[in-house]
Amino acid sequence: MNGDVAPDAERGPVDPKAGRFDRVVTVLRVATLLVLVLAAVALVVGGEVGRSAAWVALAVLCAVPLLRVAWLAVRWFRRGDPRYGLVACGVLAVVAVGLTLA
C-alpha cells in the first residue's frame, strides 16, 4: 500500500516495500505472544488470578483489531484518502452502536 499517492493517482506498479508496515507487524507479533502467554497462565493458574489473566487476554484480543482499524482511519485521513478513512470510522461506529444496543 502506498499511502503517499493521491486517490486519483495513476494505477501502476508500487514500491516493493510499500505494503510493509514493520512497526505494526512488530506490534501484532507482540500482541499475539502476550495474548497466548496470558491465556496459558489463566489455564495453568486457574481461580480468580487465572480468570483475571483470561479477561486481560480477551481484552487484548478484542482491542487489537479495533485499534488497527483506528490506525488505518488516521493513516488514510492523513494521506489524503478520506473516503476510506470514513469507511474505517464507520466500522468503529457500527461496533460502538452495537455495544450500546447490547
Binding site: M1, N2, G3, V5, A6, P7, D8, A9, R11, P13, V14, D15, P16, A18, G19, R20, F21, V24, V25, L28, A31, T32, V35, L36, L38, A39, A40, A42, L43, G46, G50, R51, A53, A54, A57, L58, L61, C62, V64, P65, L66, R68, V69, L72, W76, R79, G80, D81, R83, Y84, V87, A88, V91, V94, V95, V97, G98, L99, L101, A102
Partner: protein, 274 residues
C-alpha cells in the same frame, strides 16, 4: 459451558489444526462439536468467536508483512459484516435454541461443501511471498500481487454482491459463533473477482474485527466464560501453528475431505440432538 477449559483447549487445538489444513477455520468445526457434545449453542458461540479472533491475530503479522491484505476492501465489506455480527449476537439470545442449532448446522454444511469442493490450498506457505511487491492502490478497491514472479493487477468489482454476502456471514457469525470465512472468501474471489490469495488474507483480517465485535456484545450480555475462552485461545493458536507446519507434510486433499465429512456428521448430530 460444561466443558473444562483444558478440554476446550484440546478440542480447539484439534479443530484449529484440522480447520487450518482444511481451509475452513477452526470455529466452523469446534462450535458444532461442542454443541454435539452437549453444550448449549448460545454458550458455544463465544468460544467459537474466540477461536476466530485468535486465528486472525496469529496470522495478522505474517499477512500484513506479505502485503496481501487489502484493507480498504476488507473494511468496506466489514461495514456490513460488523453490522451483521452485532445484530446476530443481539438477537441470538432471544432465538429458540433450535433455530440457533439449525443456523449452526447450516453453517457446518456450507463449511463442509467448501472443504470438499476446494481444489487448491487457499493459504499458501509464506516464504514464497518474501521480498515481492504487493499492495493496494490508494482510494480504490484495486491493487496488485505477485504470482509466480509476475505482478498481477486486480480490481474488485460487484461490491453490490459482496456486501450482502458479508452481511450474511456476519449474521451467521453473531448467531452461531463460526467465523464465516468460508462464506466471505468465496464471495470475494468468485463474486468480486478478487484473487484468492488476496481474498483469503483480507478475509482473515476482517474476521478479527467481526469476532471482536461479536465477542464484545457477548461479553456485555454476560455470555463469555473467561477460562473456557482462555482454553480455546491457547488451543486455537497452538493448533493453527501445528496445522501450518503439517500442511506441507500431509495430503491436504485427504484432510480436507475428512474435515468435510466430519462437518457433515457433526451437522447431522447437531440437528438430531435438537
Amino acid at each position: 459451558m460444561n466443558q473444562l477449559p483444558a478440554v476446550v483447549a484440546v478440542l480447539a487445538a484439534a479443530a484449529a489444526l484440522l480447520g487450518s489444513v482444511g481451509g475452513i477455520g477452526g470455529a466452523a468445526l469446534l462450535v458444532p462439536v461442542l454443541v454435539a457434545l452437549g453444550a448449549e449453542p448460545t454458550a458455544a458461540a463465544p468460544v467459537g468467536l474466540v477461536v476466530v479472533a485468535a486465528g486472525s491475530l496469529a496470522a495478522s503479522a505474517r499477512q500484513l508483512d506479505d502485503g496481501t491484505v487489502h484493507h480498504r476492501l476488507g473494511l468496506t465489506l466489514e461495514l456490513a459484516a460488523a453490522g451483521g455480527v452485532v445484530a446476530g449476537a443481539i438477537v441470538s439470545v432471544d432465538l429458540p435454541e433450535q433455530v440457533v442449532a439449525w443456523v449452526l448446522a447450516g453453517a457446518a454444511v456450507v463449511g463442509a461443501v467448501s472443504a470438499l469442493a476446494r481444489r487448491g490450498i487457499r493459504n499458501q506457505p509464506v516464504g514464497i511471498l518474501d521480498a515481492e511487491p504487493a499492495g493496494e492502490w490508494p482510494g480504490t478497491l484495486g491493487g496488485q500481487y505477485r504470482l509466480d514472479g509476475a505482478v498481477v493487477p486486480y480490481q474488485a468489482t460487484h461490491l453490490e454482491r459482496g456486501l450482502p454476502a458479508a452481511l450474511v456471514a456476519g449474521v451467521v457469525a453473531g448467531i452461531s459463533g463460526v467465523g464465516g470465512g468460508f462464506l466471505k472468501t468465496p464471495a470475494m474471489s468468485e463474486l468480486m473477482r478478487v484473487p484468492v490469495k488476496v481474498a483469503a488474507a483480507t478475509t482473515t483480517f476482517t474476521l478479527g474485527i467481526t469476532a471482536s465485535a461479536g465477542l464484545l456484545v457477548y461479553a456485555v450480555q454476560g455470555r463469555v466464560d473467561a477460562l473456557d475462552s482462555a482454553g480455546a485461545l491457547v488451543g486455537a493458536v497452538v493448533g493453527g501453528w501445528m496445522g501450518a507446519r503439517i500442511q506441507s507434510m500431509l495430503p491436504a486433499v485427504v484432510i480436507r475431505r475428512a474435515t468435510g465429512v466430519l462437518l457433515l456428521v457433526v451437522a447431522t448430530v447437531v440437528v438430531v440432538r435438537t
